[in-house]
Point group: C2
Chain length 373, copies 2
């Protein structure tokens, strides 16, 4: 089983041979996987990436395989990265911005969407500036570091008449969507227990993900959010309350500002219970759901694959996808068609996760059960 | 994956084809698995079972395959069971007792060991009566329902000069002992996280396991104890403190007296963290350990098998065993040799688990982190 680590992510991205989402007439992602020989030759949505860190690299690679969108511009605070990316991805000077001149993008007809891949605390500012520039927004998860920030972002997009998607790539990933279907359609009866765990071993004390002002928190903000999401899409419910606990600080040099690990429990209206773990101490990557009449699980579950899944009736087999390509293509198809983005990837959805994560931090800090408003 | 349910247990026991522990000169259980054609023909230890419920049935079946011990007597409060068992297992009248005349067993030279399989709260009384009768004691897990009871049992055995073993069958099960070795020998480096979960769906409101006075608690006492044990034998450490949470009461008719589920977190001196779940709501049966440089896991992990295991380097493969036969044989070999039982199955070990479980209940009731004395 591959570990969910930054190194692995890099390897996966560069070696990506996944099936990209292609096909005529805006097919669904499932259909897309089957029709890989059909090539779409209509208009492509032009995407600019803001923040050229690791994950932007995976998105750029994914966009090379996308059919309905392309990497058209970049926004970076590091001139040397601008030089490198321009050359590697053939980006014209007119589509290269820095953080100061970014607002000029509103006059650039060659950019349709701005995809924000900055440190978490910068999402709000750039989402609002993007909206004011009249461009659609895609913002990586977590949407922001507070619920108040999320609300400002949603308001800004509404006022500007643009759409905002959160980078919930797993909503376009077949194994995870099967977990959602099995849970929500009660294929094995009412779900009683969800265990969701995601972690990897971190090691660089200078990484922004370990700085509270930039990340908003530790593994919960980065990887735990997937567990929050999964417990919500498997049950199809919103948690009523949470309890939570910080794990031991295992390295005082790394974990000066954020938690090393956090565990939490969420109870849902149906009586379903989720017990989850997120950590920067070691590798774990797993979803398990047990229902009245059977169970279903993935491991690896949440990383960039390949995934493995089974139910109490047998193994699950779905095509492997290039998650970044499929996600961007599916969002692009909706925007190209002038339709509304599906509710499970909108800012309102991102806000729900942030509210749960804020409650988890409050519960871990106070030791009390915290209701979710 | 087979569910950990009472029905499954019955099926497994009756269909048991496991490799029993046989071999010359008291071999280890690992050797025993390989030498199944060698038959021991020396003295067999004579075991009497007290309490003829479901698990006694599995033990009786296991004892049919054992080489170093045999089912020699029974103690039951139900005359019809006595008739049935005498016939089925060819037990002489002289070796059949009820709860009133049980103490007469001290004069019975044909009984060496009394194996107590009664409801949890009755373990103390019968362990003490067994010790006073001068017989060795095996008592099913949990050892008792309070730490004070455990201490009385240990004292009684010391005074009587008899030995006491707790029915920790997994200490003779190869997959679980590999998890212990991988953790304690730090094969993948220091263990950082243990996730241990065990549960099955219960349904009979009259079952003694749902009565607090008999069971001492709910799934924690019955199946959660395996998760407590596993977190201890994988880390090789004693937890410093625990937090715990009761899950939702999903069926008011079933869960009038005991919890439906309980989750808990334990922190260990090395900084390792355990996050565990035990439930009567649904099936789950899994051990996962993640260390600095890799992970190792079993699922199914704790039930009666067959188990499946893997590490981050590949699959684990060990012979399937008849857990009850191997456990009884290994205990018998030690007693036949006049040696001391290994520390990991003694009353002192049972007491440690009870102390952790008492702390878990206190933590779940108070919402506070509870230190373990």
């Amino acid at each position: 089983m591959k570990k969910f680590s930054r190194r692995h992510f890099l390897q996966s991205a560069s070696a990506a041979v996944g099936v990209s989402a292609v096909g005529a007439a805006l097919p669904s992602f499932t259909t897309a996987c089957k029709n890989k020989n059909t090539v779409y030759d209509g208009k492509k949505l032009n995407i600019a990436l803001v923040g050229l860190g690791r994950y932007a690299g995976y998105l750029a690679e994914g966009l090379q395989e996308a059919q309905y969108c392309r990497l058209a511009g970049i926004v970076t605070g590091t001139p040397s990265k601008a030089v490198d990316w321009k050359k590697r991805y053939n980006i014209p000077d007119a589509n290269v911005y820095n953080y100061q001149n970014f607002d000029g993008i509103k006059n650039n007809k060659d950019i349709d969407v701005v995809y924000i891949v900055l440190p978490n605390s910068m999402h709000k500012e750039f989402a609002i500036r993007t909206a004011r520039a009249g461009k659609h927004v895609i913002v990586e998860k977590p949407m922001a570091i507070t619920a108040a920030d999320c609300e400002e972002m949603i308001d800004a997009c509404k006022k500007a008449g643009v759409q905002m998607a959160i980078g919930y790539r797993l909503h376009y990933e077949p194994y995870n969507m099967e977990m959602k279907r099995l849970g929500q359609e009660k294929v094995f009866g009412q779900v009683r227990l969800v265990e969701a765990s995601l972690g990897y071993k971190t090691g660089d004390p200078n990484e922004w993900r370990l700085k509270k002002a930039l990340a908003g928190g530790g593994p919960l903000m980065n990887v735990g959010i997937y567990c929050v999401q999964a417990s919500r899409y498997i049950t199809g419910e919103e948690p009523l309350s949470v309890t939570a606990q910080f794990g031991p600080i295992t390295d005082a040099n790394l974990f000066k500002e954020v938690e090393a690990s956090v565990t939490w429990q969420a109870d849902f209206p149906s009586g379903a219970l989720a017990n989850c773990t997120s950590t920067y101490n070691c590798g774990i990557d797993r979803l398990y759901a047990s229902a009245e009449n059977g169970s279903f699980e993935l491991s690896p579950a949440i990383s960039y694959g390949p995934f493995r899944g089974k139910t109490s009736k047998g193994e699950l087999h779905f095509p492997e996808t290039n998650q970044q390509a499929v996600q961007c293509d599916e969002i692009a198809k909706v925007l190209l068609a002038g339709k509304q983005l599906p509710s499970h990837i909108t800012g309102e959805e991102g806000l729900k996760d942030i509210k749960v994560m804020q409650a988890i931090y409050e519960a871990a800090c106070t030791g009390k059960k915290v209701s979710i408003a």
